[in-house]
């Protein structure tokens, strides 16, 4: 249930194609940093964030500096190593052209890594670009678990793609995606990721990549299907089982959360009718007028507090749950791939057993398969442990957040009711005094 009409973002307005500078084009110098970075004193903590060339960063939308700080410090560094790569997604903007309307997000990077030419970058990216990145990561790092992206298509026709709530939810998910990649010891060094963060013209790079893909094809692509797995190692079987049950439980929690939101919304509807009855009554009373108005006001305050709670749960709680379901899907597909790699190895191994002339030396391609299996298993195990840790943190945060929101709701209601007690009682005392 949303409150009133969804707010739209400020858009760049209707212009002719020639006049519009493509936000991702190289000419858009306002947003990309100049080489002159020596003078910059902007750091993460400063209030007035400015680009290296001195242009103040537009902080009018959700990307204000304090929330920027919060987002950068979102994930604890689990390995203890010093963080050397920080990424943030913020500042959504709507772009209107005659062809299409879409949203871009500002992707800001700060790093000391030598793999990057500059210590800071700022680029505008749209969802398409994130999707491209994810596909590239899946292709190039098939043994690793790639974090999920928010849903591409909006299923329900009712949801406005350009409403502030939807865009904000998406922004948070995209931010999380990049942060997870940035935290990954292998993925964060991926070439495509680097380009995504730093390139002025991503589209040019994309086109280039397509040409290469046909050449690179076979060596990175793994065979899917066709081979039957003999025996899955216990630990991976356990992972699969865990994921199945976990998916189920997440689904249940999602349904419960939705149900609660629904019940709360219906409760809100009744409250909105309840409060005014007291006001109506007050108008026909003398002594009781103020107390009745007071109660009416209280109920109204509680209604607002409830509305906030419901909105927060809708916007913050449900999307994270759904994101984890996607995460699990990714994990499951990685497990499947691993199974396939193992199956291929086993099949090839079995095949060589029948070729008597090569019994002395294990053929190189079987060796390669064995390597692949071992690498995959190792990568997967490492990713699994990382994922479990992140999951624990994420859910701890999610659930404590839920507890906080509910506590705040009750605190607001408590304050409202406590404030009218003196109003109600003082008149009572005054009355008994005059008796």
């Amino acid at each position: 249930m949303s409150a009133g009409t969804p707010k739209s973002l400020p858009s760049s307005g209707q212009k002719s194609i020639q006049d519009i500078s493509h936000p991702l084009s190289a000419e858009d110098s306002v947003l990309t940093p100049s080489p002159d970075i020596g003078n910059t004193t902007s750091s993460i903590g400063e209030k007035d964030l400015s680009l290296p060339n001195g242009t103040p960063v537009d902080t009018s939308s959700p990307g204000s500096s304090s929330s920027l700080l919060n987002r950068l410090q979102l994930d604890d560094d689990l390995d203890g190593e010093t963080r050397d790569l920080f990424v943030t997604v913020d500042d959504p903007k709507k772009h209107v052209s005659t062809m299409e309307t879409y949203i871009t997000y500002r992707v800001s990077t700060k790093t000391t890594r030598t793999e990057f030419d500059l210590p800071e970058y700022s680029a505008r990216r749209r969802y398409q670009d994130f999707d491209w990145l994810r596909n590239k990561l899946e292709e190039s790092q098939p043994t690793h678990l790639i974090p999920p992206l928010p849903e591409k298509f909006v299923m329900k026709g009712v949801v406005d793609r350009f409403s502030e709530e939807f865009v904000e939810t998406r922004r948070k998910a995209l931010d999380k995606f990049l942060k997870r990649v940035a935290d990954h010891p292998v993925l964060s060094f991926n070439e495509h990721f680097n380009v995504f963060l730093s390139a002025k013209d991503l589209n040019a790079y994309k086109r280039q990549g397509l040409a290469l893909l046909t050449k690179m094809g076979e060596s990175v692509k793994y065979v899917t299907g066709g081979y039957k797995l003999r025996g899955r190692p216990v630990e991976f079987a356990a992972m699969g089982e865990y994921l199945d049950v976990f998916t189920q439980k997440l689904g249940t929690i999602d349904r419960i959360a939705q149900r609660i939101i629904k019940e709360q919304s219906e409760y809100l509807v009744e409250l909105r009718e309840y409060g005014p009855v007291y006001s109506g009554w007050a108008s026909s009373e003398g002594e009781l007028q103020e107390p009745l108005e007071g109660v009416s006001g209280c109920v109204a305050n509680c209604s607002s507090a409830l509305e906030e709670l419901t909105e927060d749960m809708s916007e913050d709680f449900l999307p994270v749950l759904r994101e984890y379901v996607l995460y699990i899907e990714s994990m499951k597909s990685v497990l499947k791939k691993r199974d396939q790699v193992q199956a291929e190895y086993e099949a090839k191994l079995e095949a060589t057993a029948f070729r008597k002339e090569e019994r002395t030396a294990v053929p190189t391609d079987v060796e390669k398969c064995q390597d692949r299996v071992e690498c995959f298993n190792a990568d997967l195990k490492a990713d699994w442990d990382r994922w479990q840790n992140n999951k624990r943190q994420d859910f701890r945060q999610l659930l404590t957040g839920m507890a906080d929101k509910n506590t705040q709701y009750y605190e607001k209601c408590l304050a409202a009711w406590e404030s009218i007690i003196p109003l109600l009682q003082e008149k009572q005392d005054a009355k008994t005094d005059t008796n």
Binding site: I253, E263, Y274, A403, T407, Q428
Partner: protein
């Protein structure tokens, strides 16, 4: 409410216990014990228990009904530290109704305290609408006690002999009531209240009060209806949280480090879900207070209507008298001012004889004398009524303001308690989550 627990003490003049029962009953026509003529005796009243009985009803069918135990005890004895056994008798709801009807008819200028509802209304889905449901019976017990305490604390009603007998005499009470002959009056009263008539010169104060009683009735029934819906919805919100308890428990089974935190958080969610039952039960008490004033509005309206009726009767009697006087004049002077059949028949069939006219005049004179008496009586009745009713209205108004303010304060306190409980539960849950 004047009394909420059965331990609530109120004082009432029990009348003169020095008179024998026979002597009291011989005062049939005098249902009022004069104030101040008897030594003051204070009495403690309570409706202590409820019980079920079986019996045959008016159409000879076996039925189960509930009876309520009324206990009375002199307050002096309690104050002096003695603890005598209270006088006790059992009464069923219909007997309370009979008492109240008697009071309504006998003291039409009093805003008579209402009884708790006959059937459960404004129920939300978890609340039973069954009259035999123990919660309903308990709330009714409290309501009946409140009724008795209100009557006992009313300066006029508390002196009524029938009321005293109701409290003290299990058998034979009904005879006492019926002997007062109130039922004949009840019928005519009922007719009067339901009749449609227009008063030519309405008393502005009573008109305003009648309007107010209508508004009070309308707004309190609306409030009760919406409150019941709110309660229903709130119940749903709390109960769904119980599902978290179950799923967290199931989830914790597949987790290692997170397991304990999840499991204990789940317990708190269960506690949260089950807390709503007590919360809403307490809120029913608030609803009962509102209901009392919903019914009080009816009683208030009845007084206004009674006044209208008296006023109307006075106007009718006055008009009637005027008409008769006019007729006398016409007959005496032989002139016909207005069209009448008499005039017509006279013209058609000829004049009456002197004798006939004199007989008619005689009859008219008698009627006029009667009519003048009637107008005088009605005027006095009206004035008395207005005076007494106005006193009781003022008393009622003050009581209403006091009671409802208290009800609102208690409601706010209840809400504060609910909020504090909510904060506690979520703080506990948060602690468990943070340990995950």
């Amino acid at each position: 409410m004047a009394g909420t627990a059965s331990e609530e003490i109120t004082t009432v003049d029990s009348g003169d216990t020095d008179l024998t029962a026979a002597e009291l009953e011989s005062n049939e026509t005098n249902t009022m014990v004069e104030e101040g003529t008897n030594p003051l005796r204070k009495m403690e009243i309570s409706v202590a228990e409820a019980d079920k009985r079986m019996g045959k009803n008016s159409v000879n069918i076996q039925e189960t009904y509930t009876v309520y135990l009324i206990e009375t005890r002199p307050i002096d004895a309690v104050a002096e530290g003695q603890n005598p056994a209270p006088d006790a008798l059992w009464r069923r709801y219909s007997e309370f109704e009979l008492l109240r009807n008697y009071l309504l008819v006998t003291y039409p200028f009093v805003v008579v305290p209402p009884l708790p509802e006959k059937r459960a209304e404004f129920v939300w889905h978890k609340l039973s609408a069954d009259n035999m449901d123990p919660d309903f019976v308990e709330r009714r017990r409290v309501g009946l006690e409140n009724f008795l305490l209100r009557v006992a604390s009313h300066s006029i009603l508390s002196n009524d002999k029938v009321f005293y007998h109701f409290l003290k005499e299990e058998n034979g009470w009904k005879e006492v009531v019926f002997e007062t002959g109130f039922q004949a009056k009840a019928d005519s009263r009922l007719k009067g209240l339901n009749a449609a008539f227009r008063v030519k010169t309405p008393d502005k104060r009573f008109t305003e009060l009648k309007l107010y009683s209508d508004e009070l009735q309308s707004v309190s029934s609306q409030l009760l209806r919406v409150r019941a819906r709110v309660a229903d919805r709130l119940y749903g919100v709390y109960k769904v949280h119980g599902n978290y308890g179950r799923v967290f428990s199931e989830w914790s089974a597949i987790e290692r480090e997170m397991g304990d935190g999840l499991q204990s958080a789940g317990h708190h969610m269960d506690a949260y879900a089950s807390s709503i039952d007590d919360i809403l039960e307490e809120e029913e008490h608030y609803a009962d207070q509102l209901k009392e004033y919903l019914f009080y509005a009816e009683a208030l309206r009845a007084v206004c209507r009674k006044h209208e009726l008296l006023q109307y009767e006075l106007e009718t009697a006055t008009l009637d008298l005027a008409f008769k006087k006019q007729q006398r004049e016409e007959l005496a002077t032989g002139t016909v001012r207005t069209f009448s059949f008499k005039g017509m028949t006279t013209k058609l069939f000829g004049q009456e004889t002197q004798e006939q006219r004199e007989v008619k005049l005689q009859v008219l004179e008698e009627q006029i004398v009667e009519g003048e008496e009637l107008v005088k009586d009605k005027t006095v009745e009206c004035e008395e009524f207005v005076k007494n009713a106005w006193v009781d209205m003022e008393r009622f108004k003050e009581q209403k303001d006091r009671d409802l303010k208290e009800a609102l304060i208690n409601y706010a306190i209840m809400q504060i308690s609910v909020c504090k409980k909510g904060i506690q539960v979520w703080a506990n849950a948060k602690e468990c989550f943070s340990k995950m």
